[in-house]
């Protein structure tokens, strides 16, 4: 199924305000966990059953000695062929027909977590240590099936995260990459044909986040 919905994350518009990260917690009623400052703006340090979205911060020096600082609002890609589903035998993990959202049901508690995680090229699924239920981004399924846009999209001040019909999002991604290429020859839309959550980057995706692309 290639129709349905998609989300575009245009990192070239992201200001790392982290509104998306907080809005995700707010909508899903997830806890703020205890964290430490570890020498980065990035926090919490990883996805968890209480954190479906993290803005990854990555920095270094360009060839001219000037710094770069990349932001990558990481969450589930809602793959067209979800690798995490490989281990599912029944309906532990389902794909919604209309939207294409990949949804974890309470029955994921019966899945082999490690194997499920291994199936995901983006290192997304996490497990609730008590209930053993698996957790990740829901594409705000309850919102998008009730006429609202996902919480992260709603919170984004710069239009870095957009939501819409997949064909429209694909077209927007293509157009944006073409524009960006004039300034950033390495600009690309990551794994656009395989995922519903498409990231636009202007440099080597590995410089953003090690799991930015499946490739």
């Amino acid at each position: 199924m290639a129709e349905g919905k998609s989300i575009l994350v245009d990192t070239s518009r992201c200001t790392a305000c982290r509104g998306c990260q907080i809005a995700c917690k707010q909508w899903h009623g997830l806890a703020g966990t205890h964290t430490k400052q570890a020498g980065s703006y990035e926090n919490p340090s990883d996805l968890s059953d209480q954190t479906y979205k993290i803005v990854r911060f990555s920095e270094g020096k360009n060839g001219d000695g000037k710094p770069y600082w990349y932001f990558f609002s990481e969450s589930c890609r809602h793959c067209l062929s979800p690798g995490c589903m490989a281990v599912a035998e029944k309906d532990e993990i389902v794909v919604d027909e209309k939207t294409g959202a990949v949804l974890y049901t309470p029955a994921t508690k019966d899945l082999d977590f490690k194997e499920t995680l291994k199936g995901c090229p983006y290192n997304i699924p996490r497990q609730n240590p008590t209930t053993k239920v698996l957790a990740k981004c829901t594409m705000c399924f309850d919102r998008i099936t009730n006429g609202m846009i996902p919480a992260c999209v709603k919170s984004c001040p710069t239009g870095a995260i957009q939501f819409g019909e997949r064909d429209a999002i694909l077209a927007a991604a293509k157009k944006r990459v073409e524009e960006l290429k004039k300034t950033f020859p390495k600009a690309s839309a990551l794994d656009a044909d395989e995922v519903r959550v498409i990231y636009i980057v202007t440099d080597d995706p590995k410089k953003y986040w090690k799991y930015a692309s499946a490739k």
């Binding site: 518009r13 200001t15 790392a16 305000c17 982290r18 509104g19 990260q21 907080i22 917690k25 707010q26 806890a31 703020g32 966990t33 205890h34 964290t35 430490k36 400052q37 570890a38 020498g39 980065s40 703006y41 926090n43 919490p44 920095e59 270094g60 020096k61 000695g65 000037k66 710094p67 770069y68 600082w69 990349y70 932001f71 001040p157 710069t158 239009g159």
Partner: protein, 810 residues
């Protein structure tokens, strides 16, 4: 802002300097990104590569406290390369004006300096006037004493080499910024500046902004859509609180505060009302007595009469030269001269520069009332670090107040838009809206004065105090009084000469109708028109934008008179035709102005009979490239911060701003160019925490994202000190120390100042001991209590520290 948030989208070049808009004004970036979508360019100049820098088309570093050198170099570049907007500069600024013979500038000092008083005799800087009182001008700009030539001479010293030696900005980076920004000197190109505390919190804060104002005038960017000088306010209603005279030196609507030497209302009005001999100057402040009289009528109602000077005698007066700003207040408190203190919606124990002194000062009080939505380091100072509650006599009262969505009223944003907000929920428990607290407090005070008398009961008892409905504070009644009423039946004329009859009790539709005879009242003249017979204009929510320029003239209400862009008549040529036909903000159609509400109805200046110059708030009708009114000079000049890393000022023999006040008590320590404090430090906010964090540090999602105080430093500095990323370190200044986590980053780089290498670090000031428990302390324990000589805003953005590995650290 002279312009407004949405207008940023109209810009061709946006300079963000003295702010980190992406982190601290996140929504502004919506409009910045729209400008970029339209082909605009974003420049970021900052000591640190920030979130804003990450989105910029070009980033250049500079050492904290050297902005005037950077901008002075830009002025020099524009004048040398002839990249300025000649027609605009000639007609709309004081560039052609002749400066009086006594003005001089030698080796860092302007004429008239008195080292004992640490101040200037500013009369020596006056512009030359002819026998009729008209300013003398040279429209060829060749006279060596004209402002233009003096400007050129002054900034000829700011060569790229010299600037780079001061700022540490590589010369190619300087030139690139100068090139990019001065493109907007073209008639149909426009540039804007977004700044915040990174420019104001310096001992040269006002002159930083003056320097940029000069650039904006040379480019002809004032009054234009997509232009202006745009201060981003740090809180949603800082603009409103300033408009309503939160500060000591003004009354509502920027009316200068009464002083002891101005003993009568007549003297006060005379002293505050500027004069002009130029018939083409609107000199809007000539209306001052109308606004001051209407204000007194709002204060004292029927008790204000011509016979008693409308109650002017009841107003408190400043001693001549007295300065009651923050640093002086807390110095007085520290020295036991202030007995009681309302800390209302603030947290000085964390927000005040040299916060250790602030905390000690709080302990000298008899009583402290803390009005806030949460407990904070101020209300609980007596049980904070280093305090012994047994030794502290201060009695502290906590009054819980409603938060913003739990009350009705207006907020005025940075773009001067007053937006009415409805109450969304009841405040919890005993918490009350601030208005209710103030109202009930004053009722009680009046009752006590009535019963027991007092030293001077007249101002209290004569106050017009009728802002309640059914004994409850009513925000609408306050808003209407701020707008103002007609106090008797009166017939006035509209601009076309038509009769306009008004009845006693009518709301005044515009400040043009305010009177100096006591027949009108108005709590703040610039808000006159905000709440009229047509209703509460601030509550308007129409999304009409016929110009497409984002004016949204029927959304909320904007002071003055709903004018969305100030000085908008300067966006047109002498005939009133837009410089930039693509973005016409106003246009003269031969009979009237069309577009935004113009700066007055008069024809453009080409009409020598009825026309007026565009800068109506200036007595000369033109903008000031040469500004003889400030305390530290008519041209911005680079001086080093009070604490700096260099042994001398590369620009002149004058090391620091010669007019700053230096406190010299036991808590007022500062060391410059001292090997014990070798690193420049600056402070800033983060997106996740609001100001001192008192509204956000109780919020688990935000604390999760930004849990502990940190210090950002370069890899080179870290290596020098043996510090690794994530290590615990101690940052020490002459005034205090803060333990924090090291954030070793490529985003700070050492500055090369000639042969000298200078390192800079930076810290957020949003933490405090009260919560979270392992969050750490406020970086204001380190900042110096020295201020700008015009505003006394503290120099929190450039001071000296040491950084060492903390004991017990990794």
């Amino acid at each position: 802002m002279t312009n407004h948030w949405i207008d940023l989208k109209n810009s061709d070049v946006i300079l963000i300097m003295g702010s980190n808009a992406a982190a601290n004004h996140p929504i502004s970036m919506k409009w910045v990104m729209k400008a970029k979508d339209n082909g605009g360019k974003l420049i970021c100049v900052d000591p640190r590569y920030t979130q804003t820098a990450a989105r910029a088309d070009f980033y250049a570093p500079l050492r904290s406290g050297t902005d005037i050198a950077f901008l002075g170099g830009m002025i020099n570049y524009m004048l040398q390369k002839d990249k300025y907007f000649k027609e605009y500069v000639l007609n709309y600024t004081n560039a052609p004006f002749i400066v009086g013979d006594k003005y001089d500038f030698t080796d860092g000092l302007f004429a008239g300096y008195d080292p004992k008083k640490r101040s200037y005799d500013k009369t020596l800087w006056a512009l030359k006037k002819d026998a009729k009182g008209m300013p003398e001008k040279d429209m060829t700009l060749q006279n060596p004493r004209c402002v233009f030539q003096l400007l050129k001479k002054h900034y000829s010293r700011y060569t790229p080499e010299k600037v780079s030696e001061i700022t540490g900005t590589p010369i190619p980076d300087l030139i690139k910024v100068y090139e990019m920004y001065s493109e907007t000197a073209a008639k149909d190109k426009v540039g804007t500046i977004m700044y915040a505390m990174g420019w104001t919190q310096h001992t040269v804060g006002v002159q930083n902004i003056r320097a940029m104002s000069i650039i904006q005038l040379l480019c002809g960017n004032m009054g234009m859509a997509g232009g202006g000088v745009n201060a981003m306010r740090g809180e949603s209603n800082v603009q409103g609180s300033t408009d309503q005279a939160l500060l000591f030196h003004i009354l509502p609507g920027y009316l200068g505060a009464p002083a002891a030497s101005l003993a009568t209302f007549t003297k006060y009005n005379e002293a505050r009302t500027p004069k002009t001999a130029d018939p083409m100057s609107a000199n809007w402040w000539q209306n001052f007595p109308k606004y001051s009289t209407s204000l007194l009528k709002a204060f004292f109602g029927d008790n204000a009469t011509p016979e008693n000077e409308f109650g002017y005698g009841w107003l408190p007066k400043l001693d001549d030269g007295q300065n009651c700003s923050w640093l002086n207040l807390f110095d007085a408190m520290y020295n036991g001269k202030i007995k009681g203190f309302f800390a209302w919606g603030q947290n000085p124990a964390c927000s005040g520069a040299n916060a250790n002194k602030v905390r000690k000062a709080l302990a000298k009080l008899d009583w402290l009332v803390n009005v806030n939505i949460f407990d904070n380091e101020t209300g609980s100072f007596w049980k904070g670090p280093g305090m012994n509650p047994k030794e502290i006599k201060t009695e502290v009262f906590m009054l819980p107040c409603a938060c913003s969505v739990e009350k009705e009223g207006s907020i005025s944003n940075s773009g001067r838009w007053a937006q009415w907000r409805y109450k969304a929920a009841d405040p919890p428990g005993d918490a009350k809206p601030d208005g209710d607290i103030m109202y009930e407090l004053m009722e009680k005070i009046r009752e006590l004065y009535k019963k027991d008398g007092g030293k001077f009961p007249a101002p209290i008892l004569n106050l017009k105090w009728d802002y309640a409905t059914d004994h409850v504070f009513d925000a609408h009644k306050v808003a209407k009084q701020i707008n103002g009423y007609f106090l008797k039946d009166i017939t006035l004329k509209d601009p076309t000469g038509k009769d306009l009859p008004f009845k006693k009790g009518d709301l005044v539709p515009s400040f043009a109708f305010l009177q100096a005879d006591g027949s009108t009242s108005c709590g703040n003249w610039i808000y006159c028109g905000s709440y009229t017979g047509k209703g509460n204009m601030m509550a308007r929510r129409s999304k009409n934008d016929p110009t497409g320029l984002g004016l949204f003239a029927e959304w909320s209400w904007c002071w003055p008179v709903n004018r969305r862009i100030l000085y908008n008549r300067a966006s047109t040529d002498l005939n009133g035709q837009p410089w930039d036909p693509k973005r016409p903000i106003v246009k003269w159609d031969g009979k009237a102005w069309v577009g935004d509400v113009p700066d007055g109805p008069w024809p453009p200046p080409a009409d020598k009979e009825k026309g007026k110059h565009p800068f109506i708030m200036k007595p000369d009708g033109v903008a000031s490239i040469y500004g003889p009114g400030l305390n530290d000079g008519p041209f911005p000049e680079h001086y080093e911060p009070l604490e700096c890393p260099v042994p001398q000022n590369a620009m002149s023999k004058q090391f620091i701003n010669p007019t700053i006040k230096i406190f010299a008590g036991e808590m007022d320590k500062h060391f410059t160019c001292d090997p014990r404090f070798p690193f420049v430090c600056t402070t800033y906010r983060v997106t996740e925490h609001w100001q001192t964090g008192i509204m956000t540090r109780w919020q688990s999602w935000l604390v999760e994202a930004q849990p502990q105080v940190f210090v950002e430093m370069s890899e080179e500095l870290a290596q020098m000190r043996g510090i690794k990323n994530g290590d615990l370190v101690k940052v020490t200044s002459p005034r205090g120390e803060v333990d924090c986590v090291a954030m070793v980053t490529t985003r700070f780089r050492p500055f090369k100042l000639g042969n000298l290498v200078v390192h800079q670090v930076g810290m957020p000031w949003c933490f405090g001991w009260i919560t979270p428990k392992d969050g750490g302390e406020s970086s204001n324990l380190l900042t110096p209590n020295v201020g700008d000589p015009n505003t006394m805003i503290p120099e929190s953005k450039a001071f000296m520290v040491n950084v060492t590995k903390a004991k017990g650290g990794a």
